[in-house]
Amino acid sequence: MTIILFGILFLPIFSALSITFFSQKHPSISAGISIAISCITFLLTCVLCAMTQSQTLPIEIVYTWLSVGNLSVDLGFLVDRLSLIMLFVVTGVGSLIHIYSKGYMGKDPSLSRYFASLSIFMFSMIGIVLANNFLMIFIFWEMVGLSSYLLIGFWMTKGSAADAAKKAFLCNRIGDTGFLLGIILVWSCLGTLRFGEISNLLSTNPAAFSSLATITGLLLLCGVIGKSAQFPLHVWLPDAMEGPTPVSALIHAATMVAAGVYLLARGFDIFALSAAWPQGLDWLKFSTLDVIATIGAFTALMAALIAVQQNDIKRILAYSTLSQLGYMVMAIGLSYPIAAMYHLTTHAFFKALLFLGAGSVIVALHHEQNIWKMGGLQKRMPITFWTFLIATLALCGIPPLSGFFSKDYIVAEALHKNAYLGTIALVTAFLTTFYMGRLFFVSFIGRTRSKVSDHAKENSTIITMPLILLAIASVFAGFIGIDSYLMPHYSSQSLANTNMVFPYPSIDQAPDNWFKMLIYPFKHAPMAAILSICAVIAGGFLSFIFYFNAKNDILSSKFKTVSLWLKNRLYFDELYQNSAVWLQDKLALICDFIDRWIIGGIIIGIIYRIVDLIGRFCRFSQTGNIQTYTAIFVLGIIVLSYWVINW
């Protein structure tokens, strides 16, 4: 077991190192190493799953990494259902995308660097998944930030890519500031950073945080906001599409951005604490979960709106990712981590598929990403077309595809708990279908809109094979029982203080075959299921009207102002540019000024000049006249003797 865990964690970094040191000059070898190792980790994950079937979870393996005073940081593995699911997603989608990358990146001269970075990413992501304590998560959290940075900026000679990479890293860093502070608070309040101990402590003593509970939760949330690109730090994710498409698929759709949700699920015990504020701030009544739900809902809606008016295929998908992440976060906020994890898993499959499909299109169109220059691809690229269709439907939430089930849980829960959030969830579902329909109709259906799309051809097997595999996963992930697999994880933990409502009253009452699962949403909350299907149909219908065989975007000509705002992403980038960046620039300018002129010039200058002046002044007593000298000589004697004699 230990060996397998070590293998899963460290094989990727081994691959990265060996690529860096030995096969930098041989791209194909590098690709081979990397693909092989990612597949091996996937196999090891399967073995691990199989092994844990017979064991009681969670299993924790701990090595001390650092221990000073009462601060102790472990290199620890925590294997439970949560981490296993996530590990499965990461390694599974990861190895598919590794394979796809080989086809997609093709003859890029820096292929070795690409695969090395990808391996670093795998390492870091697996680290996050397996970590048993907050600081280890934080460490790998930073490392995924790094690999994301490296991969977004892969084409670094392109200014926009380099800028996007920088932006992504910085936004993540802003979130991480809060995250680290949150970790420090957790440590100072609880004295430990291990998840297991934390949940034990909190179950015995829910007031362990005393007045800092909500602040701690919010600070930890900052990390999530940064990594999962929630409002207000969402601006980096669309820009991150400057990176290679497989990277977008893996990192910025399937796994890394979902790490935030994973963290929320992981540390749910802390987030689920009821509102507690220190003195002076106790007029703030809301709890962490309220904030999480609000942020998630807002992000979901906002991103869906923006996606409506984007023209870049990858950007649409990016906003869609944002929107879906919003769903997940909202689910956590509704104290429903299982739904969030469920949606995370299904979303990983179909969103990866969407991105890979988009990548396939982009390759075929020689790196044309504007949907208005595509069109008529259903004949020319059949495999891509069909898989993309499946993914789109899954995303929109058409039963019986996977997306429907996971999304339905969230919508149902939202409607159940909070009508506003429920409405937002439904509107977002409608918008999702609308923009996906727009994307689909414009880029795939109808006549070709440019020469490049005329000459599009289906890609080779190495690209299509992962598409097919992911499509299968997207179809079936909905009713293989991911939710019921996760249930024991949460029921085993004492969450008495939260008002968490399980989809099933208990594990025994879970549907026991796939068909029951298929219809369970309609049994469980028929209202929510029907409403969401209606929203999907409405969205699909509208988009069909507007965009089927459309020459241009009707919306943008009809609602100019709204469209302009949406096209410009609600001017968030400009806002940040003019506020935060401006402020930072000006602060830096002031400090620079102080340093250069006040400290370097005036203060030092003044001290120097005063000393110099005194020197010059004293010097003038050397008049060159002997009689002055004698006078001072005698005066000195007079003063000394007067003073000594009258002592």
Partner: protein, 490 residues
């Protein structure tokens, strides 16, 4: 009568007479080289003798001069220093194509005075040795009689020194009158009663003023910058080193004998003198552009540091002061080797002129830089150890006596300021300002005789060795200061 105490001086006097005879008897072209060689060999032999023949101190009570440990140590120092300056003088004379004997014989005679001064045990001898040195310096300062500057410096020195010696004689008269004796040992045992206290102190202050002139302590220092600047470099060097050393040696003996060092009043008295000298010297040195003038001001400051020892009192402080003095004196030797080269070759002692040293006489440039660094107190040079020992003594006293810490702070500020101008000199040597850069490339390489190298090496050894292994010199200075310990006990 202590015959041992003036054996070396007798030898030196014989050397002078030998040189004078050589001067009279030899042909013109030969005698310079012969006299030069004889001088170096003679001084060298005496130096060796001072280490081998005169190893043990000879102390005879009641004798006017003593060969105690302090005397022996300083005689050695003066001989080594004399050897160095003899060589530098000769170099200077040779470049001026001047008369060999008149300058060198006066110099050697002043050296006799200096060596005698280290043995002094009596107010009369104190006055006399001081005057031997002073009269010789009148001549040496005004020696360059073709230039107005030198003469002006000579007359200034003459009048100021005359005033100082008159004041000192008056002081001696008072001290003698009250205590009834001229002898230091008896003086040490004497304490004035209530009636005569004022007169006694008046006498002491007058004597200190006279000696303060020699060591250029504030406010008796005004002559120094003018005279240093006006006279020729070798003389300046000796004024800055040997003459100051004489002042300090006499002051150490006198102060230990006649003043109750360590008592509050005396501590404050010296503290004021020291602090004002340190501040005045360092502050005034900053704007100077003439290297000799700068060294004059730095010399005032250095006198201030050494006076800290009197403020502290005790053999440890005295030992530190001796250490500092010896190191300082040899740093000056090294510095003036270079400065005299500059003066004769470039004809100016402006700091810009120093920039020619690295090209034309790298060894001299290096020597000057090292001596500046040593005076600035940069480890592992000996100057650091000197400052360190003085500060150590000061702080140890200050721990019991917190007001002394103010003095320590003043000393620190002084050291910090001094770093600025010492480094400025180094900068002028190696990294000159643009207009001075031209000087660097013009002119041919200056030929340094092997004797000059010898002088430089003496200075270098004394600047580096005691810094790296302080025990070498510190043992000696402790040994020397033990003499004063006996005086201090009374």
């Amino acid at each position: 009568m202590n015959f041992a105490a003036f054996q070396l001086e007798t030898g030196l006097a014989a050397l002078v007479i030998l040189l004078l005879i050589l001067d009279g008897s030899c042909k013109q072209s030969l005698h310079v080289a012969k006299g030069y060689a004889a001088g170096i060999v003679g001084l060298g032999i005496l130096l060796i003798l001072s280490f081998t023949y005169l190893k043990t101190p000879v102390v005879i009570p009641e004798a006017l001069i003593q060969l105690d440990t302090m005397a022996l140590g300083f005689k050695r120092m003066f001989l080594a220093l004399g050897l160095g300056f003899f060589i530098i003088n000769q170099n200077w004379i040779a470049r001026r194509r001047d008369n060999f004997i008149s300058y060198q014989s006066i110099f050697l005679l002043s050296l006799i005075g200096m060596m005698l001064s280290s043995s002094v045990n009596n107010l009369l001898m104190m006055f006399l040795t001081m005057e031997i040195v002073a009269v010789s310096f009148y001549v040496m300062v005004g020696y360059n009689k073709k230039t107005e500057q030198s003469l002006e410096a000579g007359v200034k020195y003459l009048i100021m020194a005359g005033l100082a010696s008159a004041i000192m004689i008056m002081g001696i008269a008072f001290v003698y009158g009250i205590s009834g004796t001229l002898d230091f040992n008896e003086l040490a045992e004497f304490t004035p009663d209530e009636n005569s206290r004022d007169a006694y102190w008046m006498g002491i202050i007058l004597i200190v003023a006279g000696l303060g002139f020699k060591i250029s302590a504030f406010p008796f220092q005004y002559w120094a910058p003018d005279v240093y600047q006006g006279t020729s470099a070798p003389t300046t060097g000796m004024l800055a080193s040997a003459s100051k050393a004489v002042g300090f040696i006499l002051l150490a003996r006198f102060a230990c004998a006649a003043m109750p060092l360590g008592s509050p009043i005396i501590t404050t008295f010296w503290a004021i003198l020291a602090a004002s000298s340190i501040l005045y010297g360092n502050l005034c040195a900053i704007p100077q552009r003439d290297i000799k003038r700068l060294i004059a001001f730095s010399g005032i400051a250095n006198a201030g540091y050494m006076m800290l020892a009197f403020s502290v009192g005790g053999t440890m402080a005295m030992s530190a002061m001796f250490y500092y003095l010896i190191v300082y004196v040899f740093s000056i030797l090294g510095a003036f080797l270079a400065i005299s080269l500059i003066e004769t070759e470039v004809g100016s002692t402006d700091m810009d002129a120093l920039s020619c040293l690295p090209q034309r006489a790298p060894f001299a440039g290096f020597l000057l830089a090292v001596s500046m660094a040593s005076m600035a107190g940069i480890p592992p040079l000996a100057g650091f150890m000197g400052k360190f020992l003085l500060l150590k003594a000061l702080f140890i006293r200050g721990m019991a006596d917190t007001p002394i810490l103010i003095l320590a702070i003043v000393a620190l500020i002084g050291i910090i300021i001094s770093i600025y101008y010492y480094f400025l000199v180094i900068r002028c040597i190696y990294w000159p300002a643009n207009q001075a850069y031209l000087l660097r490339t013009s002119g041919s390489k200056i030929f340094l005789t092997s004797a000059l190298y010898l002088a430089g090496v003496i200075s270098l050894i004394m600047m580096i060795l005691p810094g790296i292994y302080p025990e070498l010199l510190l043992d000696g200075t402790d040994w020397m200061a033990s003499t004063l310990g006996e005086l201090l006990q009374h």
